[in-house]
Structure formats: structure tokens, C-alpha cells
């Protein structure tokens, strides 16, 4: 199905999120959509999939003007969208998720649906268990479920809004293969992303948005530097940061063990020195998060000891770590990191040392203004946190950190952020390292792990590797280790056994 967007405008109050976007996407192509945070990509896609109505403009499918009353209406006309955070019902079973919302009588025909689910999954090499609960699936599998569901309901145009954040490299390959296949079958695919290498690997053509406007289009093969320039309006250079001299150990883990009802990770021994950056790699849910949380006192380790700044902190709560000079920045910025309804000024005031009991409005504004300038936050002191884009939320979190921190724990420091924001965030973090702060973080972005870590711990199948110097790894090798390939030889329990150096299979 050919999709045409003509002169689409959308306002959110004073924000002009889409400014007259005109774009034609032929049937059977994979159309990339690039743009920095807040460029208006999601807004445009939500308009195309019936979630929001444009203030002006027209949508045509195969030349026929259409308008959508709701997402379900758009889907009836052939347009389905996968949201960045899959719009499904986590506590329900896969099959019930699949059936919910499908047209039909009072009682769904579950057998029929099961067959359809299995046969469509099979076509794409997805293995979905109809009886599994969705909250036990990985993000990648939840996406697969949505794809299968939308296809079953007759989608001929599929929109993917940043589908590769939070999925493993293998799942990404599977996804890309499925997308190529769908395009070959004549379906139209729109692929929203920040990542140039994904555009290069997958998309037949790409359109770039900046500040709500369509600033350019290109076809494969691409000139990447030109795409970056279109996205940000300037040339951005990715330089490797100069090495930071390391100091005394800040955090010492000895034989640390964590577990949940599936995982039993043990024997993690690691010293993190002042100025050092340690990255945790692995598929989502392999235990990185638990280890990070246990090391920060957010959960209690089931064994081993944690020393922070030379003091035994095993089993002590996070508050004690925080007092001693550590902070934890979770991946879910909006629910765990910030208060959605509090303004920037209020956040900044909360983070400061309290002197009086009453808040001083003038002082708050001044502090907020300072944070906004130093951290290039796009917002005003009175902007509530929930109205900030992801990149700006992360900047705010950084702005809230105390100046004298000794250790920063972070989950996915730059997840969902555009290239410029990501570089900027890490520049700020590395500045901290130079002043002696250590960073302990987890990420699913291999480039990020390799570019910024001194050493990396890889998690696989309930085991951990020993700390691996980042300069001995590359993206390919790290990707293999995360998938378990050659993991045995780097596992932390491998050292205790006699080293029988096998041939690399």
C-alpha cells in the first residue's frame, strides 16, 4: 500500500510538533525515519496510525484520501503501529493478548486464533508460546507478538517506533529479517530510529525530521555524515575520550551472589577504582540489573560482601550508600527517577541541601535556571518533568546529581537518546570520572559499552564473565559472548578449573 502524507501539522499547545510534513512512501519499501529527540517522529507516526488527529493535512492510501477515527479504525484500513513500549497487557497470556480486540462475536474462537498465531509466527521464525504470560517475555518477543497480531488483523502498513531499544542483537537480526520479508511481500514498513547503522543496514530510503520539519530524504546507499548533518543541523564528531587515570578502589565486591526465582549468579569479585567505568553486558534479564541493584544496596545480595570507600556496606540499604556518596540512576526515568508532575525548579530544589523549612521561590528559579543552562535542558524552570523529552529528562537527572559523588550506578545511561544527547551525556559523565568518580553501569548498546567502559562484565545463562578489558573486545566479539558463544572461556567460574585452552570453535 502506498502511503502519502501531505502537509501534516500538529500543535501541542504552543509546541508545533509537526510543521507541514509531506512524504510519499511507495508500497514494498522500508522507509527509515530519522531525527533527534523531540523532532516529531512519534507524533507523525501516531497521526498516521490514528492515535492522534492532525490539525491540518491529509493522509492518502493508494491515492485515496482517508481519515482515522481511532487506532482500531486505522488498523481496519490497513495501518498498524508498534509502539516503542509495546502496547500489550503484561499479566495476560500471549493468546489472550492476541485475541483481545479482534473482531467477532461474544466468544472468541481460541483454537482458530492459536493456529493463526502459530502459523504466522512460524513464517517469520518467531517462537511464541501461546500459553506463556506476556510479562515473562522479553521486549523482543513482545514485539514479535504485536507484529503477528497486526498481520493477523490485516495490517498492510507497519510502523515501528524505535523497535531496537532494549532487544538483543539476535532478536534485532530476526526482526530485520522479518521486516525485509514483509517488504518483499509488498507491505510498507516505516522504521523510526536514532541509529544510523540501522538505517544503513535495513532501510531502502530515509527521511529526516528536525524540529517538526522534513529536512531531507535520501536513498541507499547513504552518506552518513550528511545524514548526521541533516539530523542535527551541524557536523558531529565522535572522538574517543582520552584515558582517565585511575585511583583507589571505590567499590569492592567479593564473591557477590544475587538470585531471583530463575537466576543464581555467584562469585562476582571486582574492584572499581576511582575514575573507572565498568559496564555490564548481556541480554535483558540475565542478572545485570540485579547485580547492579545489589551492589547499590537496593536489594540484598544473597552472598558475598560489598565494600564502599573501604567500609563494609553488605546488606545496608541504598540510603546509606547515598549518604556515603553514591547515586543510582534507573532506566525508567519517569517512574523511578523523577516525579512526573514536579517542575524542573522543584526537582532542583529537592536535590539541594535543605537549609530552611520553606521554599524560596526566587532561589528555586535561580537554581533551576543555572541547571538548565549548564545541562542544556530544553525546558523552563516551571516545566513539569513529564513534559520533557527523554533526552532532557536524562539531562535533568544528571543536573540533580551532587557534585561530590564518588560512584554512579546507571541503567542504560543513553537508552532512547539521540546521538548528540548520548555523546553529551557521556562527556559529562567522563568529566566526573576525571574528578575521581567511578561509574558502574549496564547497557544493551554494545558500542556504548565498548566506547566508554574500562572493563566489561558479560552475563550469560545465569553466569558472569570475569572483568574483560574493553580494548580487548570489539562489537562482534562482545555480541558473541552475550549470545553465549565462547562464553565458557571467559566465565568467572572457569578460572578455578584447570585451563584447557580449547580451539575457538
Amino acid at each position: 500500500m502506498q502511503v502519502e502524507l501531505r502537509d501534516i501539522h500538529k500543535f501541542f499547545g504552543p509546541v508545533h510538533a509537526n510543521r507541514g510534513i509531506t512524504l510519499t512512501i511507495p508500497a514494498g519499501t522500508i522507509q527509515g525515519l530519522l531525527g533527534e529527540n523531540g523532532a516529531g517522529k512519534s507524533t507523525l507516526m501516531k497521526i498516521l496510525s490514528g492515535f492522534i488527529r492532525p490539525d491540518r493535512g491529509e493522509i492518502r492510501l493508494d491515492g485515496r484520501p482517508v481519515s482515522f477515527r481511532s487506532p482500531a479504525d486505522a488498523l481496519r484500513q490497513g495501518i498498524g503501529m508498534l509502539h516503542q513500549d509495546p502496547l500489550d497487557f503484561p499479566p495476560m497470556r500471549v493468546l489472550d493478548n492476541f485475541v483481545a480486540g479482534s473482531p467477532g462475536g461474544l466468544l472468541p474462537d481460541k483454537e482458530d486464533a492459536r493456529q493463526a498465531l502459530l502459523s504466522i509466527s512460524q513464517q517469520f521464525g518467531f517462537s511464541l508460546d501461546p500459553d506463556a504470560y506476556v510479562d515473562t517475555l522479553t521486549v523482543g518477543e513482545r514485539q514479535q507478538l504485536e507484529i503477528v497480531r497486526l498481520l493477523w488483523l490485516g495490517a498492510r502498513v507497519l510502523i515501528f517506533d524505535e523497535p531496537t531499544t532494549g532487544i538483543s542483537a539476535q532478536q534485532r537480526e530476526k526482526l530485520f529479517a522479518a521486516l525485509r520479508r514483509l517488504a518483499d511481500e509488498g507491505r510498507t514498513i516505516i522504521f523510526v530510529t536514532h541509529k544510523l547503522e540501522e538505517v544503513q543496514a535495513l532501510c531502502h530510503r530515509v527521511a529526516v525530521l528536525r524540529s517538526g520539519e522534513l529536512v531531507g530524504e535520501a536513498q541507499a546507499p547513504y552518506d552518513l555524515d550528511r545524514l548526521v548533518e541533516m539530523m542535527f543541523g551541524k557536523v558531529i564528531t565522535v572522538g574517543r575520550a582520552e584515558p582517565v587515570p585511575l585511583g583507589e578502589p571505590v567499590l569492592e565486591l567479593r564473591d557477590l551472589a544475587v538470585e531471583d526465582h530463575r537466576l543464581h549468579i555467584r562469585g562476582v569479585t571486582l574492584d572499581i577504582r576511582a575514575g573507572e567505568v565498568i559496564g555490564l553486558a548481556g541480554m535483558e534479564g540475565s542478572g545485570q540489573r540485579r547485580l547492579l541493584r545489589a551492589a547499590a544496596g537496593l536489594i540484598r545480595p544473597t552472598g558475598g560482601t560489598v565494600r564502599f570507600l573501604g567500609q563494609d556496606m553488605t546488606g545496608r540499604p541504598y540510603l546509606d550508600f547515598h549518604k556515603a556518596g553514591a547515586t543510582y540512576i534507573p532506566a525508567d526515568r519517569m517512574t523511578e527517577g523523577l516525579f512526573p508532575d514536579l517542575t524542573i525548579a522543584e526537582h532542583v530544589a529537592l536535590a539541594r541541601e535543605q537549609t530552611g523549612f520553606l521554599l524560596n521561590a526566587e532561589q528555586m528559579r535561580a537554581w533551576a535556571q543555572e541547571a538548565i543552562e549548564n545541562f542544556s535542558i530544553r525546558g523552563r524552570p516551571e516545566t513539569p518533568a513529564r513534559a520533557l523529552s527523554g533526552g532532557n529528562q536524562q539531562r535533568l537527572l544528571l543536573a540533580l546529581m551532587r557534585p561530590d559523588l564518588r560512584l554512579i550506578f546507571m541503567e542504560h545511561p543513553t537508552r532512547g537518546l539521540d546521538l548528540e544527547s548520548a555523546l553529551w551525556i557521556w562527556r559529562k559523565l567522563k568529566d566526573r570520572c576525571r574528578k575521581g568518580t567511578a561509574i558502574f553501569f549496564m547497557s544493551s548498546d554494545l558500542e556504548e559499552l565498548l566506547n566508554y567502559s574500562d572493563r566489561v562484565l558479560v552475563f550469560f545463562g545465569g553466569r558472569v564473565s570475569r572483568p574483560l578489558p574493553a580494548e580487548e573486545l570489539d562489537v562482534e566479539r562482545l555480541g558473541q559472548l552475550i549470545g553465549g558463544y565462547g562464553f565458557d572461556r571467559v566465565a568467572n567460574d572457569a578460572i578455578t578449573e584447570p585451563q584447557t585452552e580449547g580451539k575457538a570453535a
Partner: protein, 332 residues
């Protein structure tokens, strides 16, 4: 105590539980849709009074129940309107309504206190009521009890087996996803809130025209039942079967407190009468204990076998509320 007496007592438990079952089912539907209707306690009182007065003055039992359901529906409508349309806090509105409707029932019902009203007759089901044990337990009641038992299964079937039921589960869980699947979230939440309120409103006349026939104002003994129904909704993990089981358990506790009374002469009767309430709170604690940080920390210190065993039990008991419960949803 003889076996016959026990059987009669247990049959009484089934009857006593009937209004609690109605209220719990109603609140379960409402909360499944993502709305908390906290007014249940007052609604039961007001509909008990209203239903009683309507039946007393017109002589029609039917009208009594109709009025009760209309009152329940109207209070729920207020909750839905203020929270879904005017975007006010459901908890605040529901709580104020709970107090207001309770006092209103005492005030308006005052002239009718102690009057002799009509009462729903017992209708044994021919044939079935002759089955030994089961017959007396389940098939020798008034029609409301039969209705409540049927409704338990209908509600369960609706929530888990039908197409609209799947969407209902989604409404409370992730309204945005339900919207993406074609549901009119606001309308459906409205409908389920009012429908749930009508079921709660059915509980009132079930008391005043059957289980505890009559209206005795502040000493009707109905105050508090609504809060129990709210607790049972949680205890039941928003599952109609489990919620109803809780209602029977509560009625059983109430009966036991009467049974043991003669054997515990030293304990004031009031203590025994209110004993089921703190017991319900304890069970509620039990279902949520696995979620607590201190429990997780305590467990982490135990040897692996004990830890796995206890956490498995806690997980089976544990309940997680619908993620979107009490949250507003905007379509844009």
C-alpha cells in the same frame, strides 16, 4: 453441636454471604475497568434503607430491589462522572460519598426505623433441595442467593472467557493498549462503574429485605460491610471466584464468632462480633506480604531451601492490582 445444627449454620453462612458476594462482584468489575469506587460502604447502607422504604410503602419487593440498584447506580455514576469526566480524584470523591451516603441513609431512614416490612420468601428448588447435605446448603434459599451464585460464575465467565471480558481486563491494566484495540475507554469505564455500582446497590436490599430484614438505622449492623467488600476485591485478586470465596470466608468467620460465644463467657460479645474484621485485615496483609521490601530482605537471609519454599507460597497468595487502577486516561 449436632451435625444438623452445623449444616443449618453453614446454610446460613451461604445466605449471609449473599450481599457481600454482590458487592464484591460489583467492585471487582469496576476495578477491573480501572476505576476505584470507594463509596461501597455508604452505598450499601443507602440502598438498604431506600430499598426497604420502597418495598414497605408500595408493598412490592421488586420495586425495593429496583430502587436499591438505582441508588447504587446513581452513586457510582457520580464517582464515574467526577473522575472520568471532571478528572477529579476517585479516591477523594469515593471516600466523601461513602461518608455522605451513610449519614444520609441514617437521616432519611429515621422515620422508618423498626417498622415491619416485607421479606423475600425462601424458595427451595424442587428436586435439588432434596439432595442430602448439598440440598440444604445450596438449594434451600431465597432467589437472591441463587442469583448471587449464578452471578459469580457469569462474572467469571465474562471476565475470562468472552471477547469484551478480555478488553475489560485490559482496560484496568493498560487503557492505552485497550484503546489501540478499539475500545472506547471512557465509555466502557463509565458502563462498568455504573454496572458495578448497581450490583453493590443490590447488596443493600438483600440485607434489608432478606438477610437482616428491616431497617434499624445506626444499629442495623451493616456499617463496615462495604469496606470488607473492598478488601475482598483485593484479596480476590480481582478474580470473581476468589473474591466470592473470600465473601464466604468472611460470612463463615461471622458465624463462628456467634458459635464460639457461649464457650467463651469471659470475652465480651462485642469483641467476638467485630473479630472477623481484623481477621480480614490479617488475610489482606498475608496476600501482600510477598511484595514488601522487608520480606524480601528477610527471605534473602534464609537458607536456600526454606527461601524457595516460602517464596513459592507467597507468590501463590500474592496479588497485583491492575496496573492502570485509579489512573486517568487521555486518548491523545
Amino acid at each position: 453441636m449436632s451435625w444438623d445444627l452445623i449444616l443449618t449454620g453453614l446454610a446460613g453462612v451461604v445466605a449471609m454471604a449473599t450481599p457481600v458476594v454482590f458487592a464484591t462482584l460489583g467492585e471487582t468489575l469496576t476495578e477491573r475497568a480501572g476505576v476505584i469506587n470507594l463509596s461501597v460502604n455508604g452505598t450499601i447502607l443507602l440502598s438498604a434503607m431506600g430499598g426497604f422504604v420502597a418495598a414497605l410503602t408500595t408493598g412490592s419487593l421488586w420495586l425495593g430491589f429496583l430502587v436499591g440498584m438505582l441508588i447504587g447506580g446513581a452513586v457510582a455514576f457520580l464517582v464515574a462522572f467526577t473522575s472520568l469526566t471532571l478528572k477529579q480524584s476517585q479516591v477523594a470523591v469515593g471516600f466523601v460519598l461513602a461518608l455522605f451516603t451513610r449519614d444520609l441513609s441514617y437521616y432519611l431512614g429515621n422515620p422508618f426505623v423498626g417498622k415491619q416490612g416485607p421479606r423475600v420468601p425462601v424458595m427451595p428448588i424442587p428436586g435439588l433441595s432434596k439432595i442430602p447435605v448439598l440440598g440444604e446448603l445450596l438449594f434451600d434459599h431465597d432467589p437472591l442467593t441463587y442469583l448471587s451464585i449464578v452471578l459469580i460464575f457469569v462474572t467469571w465467565f465474562w471476565v475470562y472467557k468472552t471477547r469484551p471480558g478480555l478488553i475489560l481486563q485490559g482496560l484496568g491494566e493498560r487503557p492505552a493498549a485497550a484503546y489501540a484495540r478499539g475500545a472506547n475507554v471512557r465509555l466502557q469505564r463509565f458502563i462498568y462503574t455504573v454496572l458495578g455500582g448497581m450490583l453493590v446497590g443490590l447488596a443493600g436490599p438483600t440485607y434489608s429485605l432478606s438477610v437482616k430484614a428491616g431497617w434499624k438505622g445506626t444499629i442495623s449492623g451493616l456499617d463496615g460491610i462495604g469496606w470488607i467488600a473492598l478488601a475482598l476485591t483485593i484479596f480476590g485478586a480481582w478474580n470473581p471466584l476468589r473474591g466470592a470465596a473470600g465473601a464466604y470466608m468472611f460470612a463463615l468467620l461471622q458465624w463462628l464468632s456467634l458459635v464460639v460465644q457461649p464457650y467463651l463467657p469471659g470475652v465480651p460479645t462485642q469483641v467476638l462480633q467485630v473479630a472477623p474484621f481484623p481477621l480480614m485485615i490479617l488475610t489482606l496483609l498475608l496476600v501482600n506480604i510477598g511484595n514488601t521490601e522487608w520480606m524480601k530482605r528477610t527471605l534473602a537471609g534464609l537458607p536456600p531451601d526454606a527461601r524457595h519454599f516460602i517464596s513459592r507460597i507467597l507468590r501463590a497468595l500474592q496479588v497485583t492490582p491492575p496496573a492502570g487502577l485509579g489512573r486517568a486516561f487521555e486518548e491523545e
